[in-house]
Structures are given as structure tokens and as C-alpha cells.
């Protein structure tokens, strides 16, 4: 991929505003995802990063702002246009979200069966290739409930890339997995980017996996982007919240309250 193409933005978000009822989740979010790069969206629990992801893939409509995916505004798209666009997008959900009534092979084959007119034998071969890529060859006939958490995640990756998407989204890929499996998934993401030249967006709160896979980092805090840039800059960024995140320091109000409670207890006795 040449330098000019690399500068192109796969996703652009302008002034995105999202609220649930009276609660503002995202206020004025601006960010870009460049083609062929891995962008990591960082942030603490409840900062709106999964919500942001859900909006980028069009599962919800925002209250304001624009989301451009491949230079087309998805907030004004109808269902048919969205469906066509989503064929070029893969999503790995936090809970894997495999269809429990289908085998692993059928899960991976489902998008191919529904969206393409390929021969069944071709679909079988493609399914096997995708499962090979994530290290699950031979597991076609297993049901999702028969697999471990890490294997389910891998199967979810296989399903997400079954249509050879241009953009791959991963919501907390290492959530609830042990460090070895989590590291394996980081390598898988790295490999997919290298081998398939995909644009990848990962939502996570794990610093280690961020340093391993990220080309760019976007950090969200209280519904705003507080940092955007390469990981080297992130490490030395002076923003207090970023420093707190990097140095893994807890918020202080908790301690104060516990202290006050303890004092109240001791003064009473």
C-alpha cells in the first residue's frame, strides 16, 4: 500500500452526540480511523467506548453529528444501503455472539450463504480457510457451547472475517480471557492486519494489548476524546487522566469516602 492511500480515512466521526434519556454518553466526539491501520479506542468502563462502536456499525442512530464510513454518511443511510455497507465490515462482539443454534462451521458460513451466490462446496472451503487462520481447523462440527471462551472468540473472529471485510471491529477482544489466550488474540489481530491489509478498530482498556497492536490510540473520557495519536505519544502525554490510566492509579474519591466512613465508625465507638 503506497503512502497516499495510507493517509485516506476509513472512518471519520464529526461532532458525534449520543445520549440515553437525559444522560449524555458521548459529547462532541471527533475522530478518524486511517485505512490499513489499527486504531485502539481506550477508556475506562462506562466511558462510552462500546456505545461509540455500536454507532459506527450503525446499530444505533446518534442524536447529532456525522459518521462517515468509507466517505459515506451512515447516519442518513436507509436499511438497504446500510446492509450493503455492512458486508464490507466485520464485527467481533465482546461476548463472541456466536449463534448458539448453529455449528461453528455454519456460523462462519452464514454470511457467505446469505450474501453471496457461491457454490456450497466453495463456501465449505472458504469456511475451512477462515477457521485455519484463527487456529480452529477441525472444529467445524462443534457447537459454540462445546468450546472454551478463547476458542469462541477465535470462532467469532473467523465469522467476522468470512466476507473478507475491509474494516474489522473488535469489542474488548481479551475481556474475560487469561493472559496467554489474550496475547494470542493480540497476535491474531496483528496477523490479520498484516496478511489481509484490514483496517482494524479495537475497543479495549488493556494497556499491554494496546501497545502491542495499536498504530493509533484514541482515548475517551466522560464522553469526550482526550487523546488521539500514536502510542509513543500516548505514553508521554501530560493529560492528567491519561497519566492516571498509564500509571494505573485509582480515583481518589473512593478512598476519601472509605476514610470518612472509618472515622465515623471510630468516633462512634
Amino acid at each position: 500500500m503506497d503512502a497516499a492511500a495510507k493517509k485516506e480515512n476509513a472512518i471519520e466521526i464529526h461532532n458525534l452526540v449520543v445520549s440515553f434519556g437525559s444522560h449524555r454518553v458521548l459529547t462532541d466526539v471527533d475522530m478518524q480511523v486511517r485505512c490499513g491501520e489499527t486504531t485502539v479506542i481506550l477508556g475506562g468502563s462506562g466511558c462510552g467506548k462500546s456505545t461509540l462502536l455500536r454507532h459506527i456499525i450503525g446499530l444505533r442512530k446518534p442524536q447529532g453529528g456525522r459518521i462517515l464510513v468509507k466517505n459515506r454518511d451512515i447516519t442518513t443511510m436507509d436499511e438497504d444501503q446500510m446492509s450493503t455497507l455492512l458486508r464490507k465490515v466485520g464485527v467481533v462482539f465482546q461476548s463472541s455472539a456466536l449463534f448458539n443454534s448453529l455449528t461453528i462451521g455454519d456460523n462462519v458460513a452464514l454470511p457467505l450463504r446469505e450474501h453471496t451466490r457461491l457454490e456450497e462446496s466453495t463456501i465449505q472451503i472458504m469456511t475451512r480457510i477462515k477457521l485455519d487462520m484463527v487456529g480452529l481447523s477441525g472444529f467445524e462440527h462443534y457447537m459454540p457451547s462445546e468450546l472454551s471462551g478463547g476458542m469462541k472468540k477465535r470462532a467469532a473472529f473467523a465469522r467476522a472475517i468470512s466476507m473478507d471485510p475491509e474494516i474489522l471491529f473488535c469489542d474488548e477482544p481479551s475481556a474475560g480471557l487469561d493472559p496467554i489466550v489474550a496475547a494470542g488474540l493480540d497476535e491474531l489481530i496483528f496477523k490479520l492486519k498484516k496478511a489481509l491489509k484490514m483496517t482494524i478498530v479495537v475497543v479495549t482498556h488493556e494497556m499491554e494489548s494496546m501497545y502491542k497492536i495499536a498504530d493509533r490510540v484514541v482515548m475517551l473520557h466522560e464522553g469526550k476524546v482526550i487523546f488521539s495519536g500514536p502510542p509513543e505519544e500516548f505514553r508521554v502525554c501530560e493529560h492528567p487522566r491519561v497519566r492516571q490510566f498509564v500509571e494505573r492509579r485509582a480515583d481518589h474519591y473512593g478512598e476519601d469516602e472509605i476514610g470518612r466512613y472509618a472515622r465515623a465508625l471510630t468516633s462512634e465507638s
Binding site: 455500536r54 456499525i57 450503525g58 446499530l59 436499511e79 446500510m82 446492509s83 450493503t84 455497507l85 455492512l86 458486508r87 465490515v89 464485527v91 462482539f93 465482546q94 461476548s95 463472541s96 455472539a97 456466536l98 449463534f99 448458539n100 443454534s101 452464514l110 454470511p111 446469505e114 450474501h115
Partner: protein, 275 residues
């Protein structure tokens, strides 16, 4: 004084606030139900004509699950109901020496009322709850969102095959229920009421008119669709994990049966006064 005043104001705000929130929630639910029904109609009748396809394969799968697999229980219950009906009517008709009219009563009551009703209740218990549990579990496990993220419409994928299967299998099961119910009556007539097989069957055929059968089948179609929409709605509105799935599954059965009875009253009145 000020303190109690502000407290009273706080209470009033709490009271009216909760009413307002409930009303808003109710309107929201109605809007969702309306959209679900519209979408189902669109993906059943309009989308296939526009070349967006109908999932025929999974509709047949659902027909087996909802229809064929329910035959044993429908047969068992309808046969029992037919026998019970025969005994109860014979008990009254004996007093007038008109036991043979048991045939009329069983046939008409079963085709017009009990066949569709009992079948619908079986479908609500078997399939309505199953639909709510299936869709609810998929909702909880992000599977619905996964479907959407692949560019699939959940209504087309999950709801339409089930509703089609119900619309076809509801009346089919009712026909089976009607036949077996009358069979239950025949069984009682022959073995306990000494009415004689041929006499009873002749009387049954004489008593039944086309209208009885048709009104029963129209009802059964409506009941089946009510069960389907209720099950899907309850599935899509699951909140809060496995517990929520359980709660909405139970609700789907309760609400389905309630709606079936309401619709039954409505249609019976309609057919009674207008046809």
C-alpha cells in the same frame, strides 16, 4: 414548615414523575410493537416481491418444530376434550331422552370453539414460550446485534419464518384437533353411551355445516398470529440476562392466553351477530 413543604413537593414530583415515566415507557412499548408488526408485514408480503427473498428453508424448519412436533400433544388433548364433552353433554341430554344430540354438540362445539382454543393454548405453551426464550436468549447474548452487524434484518431472519410457520400450522393443527376431538366423542358414544358408530357419525355429519369449520379456522389463524407476535415481542424486549429471559418467557404465555381469550370473545360475537 418549609421543610415539610419541600418534602411534600418532593413527594409530588416523585409521584407524578413515576406516572410520567410509566406513561412514556408504555408509549415506547406500543411504538415498538407497532414497528414490529409493520416490519413483519413488510418482510412477509412486500420484501419478497422486491427480490429481497423469504427464508423458505427456515420457515419449513419452524413448521416442523411448531406444527409436526406438536401433533402428539394436540391429538392427546383434543381426544380427551372430545370425550369429556361427550360425557358432559350426554349427562344433560339424557334428561330429555335426546342423547343422540351429543353428536351435534360435540361436533359443533369442537369445530367452532374448543378445537381452535385448545390448539392455540397448546401452541402458546409450546411454541410461544419457545419463541420468546429463543429470541430473548439471542438478545442477551448479543446475537441479535451480531445479525444486524452482518447486514441481516432480525425480523426477516427470526420473526417472519416463525409467523409464517404459525399461520400455516395453526389452522392445520386445528383441523387435526377437530377431527380427533370428534373422534373422542365417537369413542365415548360407541363404548359408553350406546349410540352406535354409524348413527353417531351420520348425526355428526348432518349437524356440521361449512360455516362452523370456517369460523373455527379463521379464529385459529388469528390465535396463532397473536401467539407469534406476543412471543417475538417478549423476546425482543428482554432486559437483564437469564432472569429477564425467564420472566419474559412466562409473560409471553400469560399474555398470549389472555389475548387468545379476548380475540375469541371478539370473533365469536362477530360471527354470532354478523354471519
Amino acid at each position: 414548615m418549609d421543610d415539610t413543604d419541600s418534602k411534600r413537593q418532593g413527594l409530588a414530583a416523585l409521584f407524578f414523575g413515576s406516572i410520567g415515566r410509566r406513561a412514556a415507557g408504555f408509549v415506547e412499548q406500543l411504538a415498538f410493537l407497532y414497528r414490529l408488526i409493520l416490519d413483519s408485514l413488510y418482510w412477509t408480503f412486500i420484501a419478497p416481491l422486491r427480490g429481497k427473498g423469504l427464508r423458505v428453508g427456515s420457515s419449513f424448519d419452524e413448521m416442523v418444530k411448531i406444527g409436526v412436533n406438536a401433533i402428539p400433544i394436540v391429538v392427546l388433548i383434543s381426544f380427551s376434550i372430545g370425550m369429556i364433552l361427550a360425557m358432559q353433554s350426554a349427562y344433560q341430554l339424557e334428561q330429555f331422552g335426546a342423547t343422540i344430540f351429543t353428536a351435534d354438540l360435540v361436533a359443533v362445539a369442537h369445530t367452532r370453539e374448543l378445537g381452535p382454543l385448545m390448539t392455540a393454548i397448546i401452541i402458546a405453551g409450546r411454541s410461544g414460550s419457545g419463541i420468546a426464550a429463543e429470541i430473548g436468549t439471542m438478545k442477551v447474548g448479543e446475537e441479535i446485534e451480531a445479525l444486524q452487524s452482518m447486514g441481516f434484518n432480525p425480523v426477516k431472519f427470526l420473526v417472519v419464518p416463525k409467523l409464517l410457520a404459525l399461520a400455516i400450522m395453526g389452522p392445520c393443527l386445528t383441523v387435526i384437533g377437530d377431527l380427533v376431538g370428534i373422534g373422542g366423542g365417537v369413542f365415548m358414544a360407541v363404548f359408553s353411551l350406546d349410540l352406535g358408530f354409524e348413527r353417531y357419525v351420520t348425526r355428526t355429519i348432518y349437524a356440521l355445516i361449512f360455516k362452523d369449520l370456517v369460523t373455527g379456522l379463521i379464529k385459529s389463524l388469528v390465535f396463532a398470529l397473536l401467539v407469534g407476535i406476543t412471543g417475538c415481542y417478549m423476546g425482543f424486549t428482554v432486559k437483564g440476562g437469564a432472569e429477564g429471559v425467564g420472566r419474559n418467557t412466562t409473560m409471553s404465555v400469560v399474555v398470549s392466553i389472555f389475548l387468545i381469550i379476548l380475540a375469541d370473545a371478539f370473533f365469536t360475537a362477530l360471527f354470532y351477530y354478523l354471519w
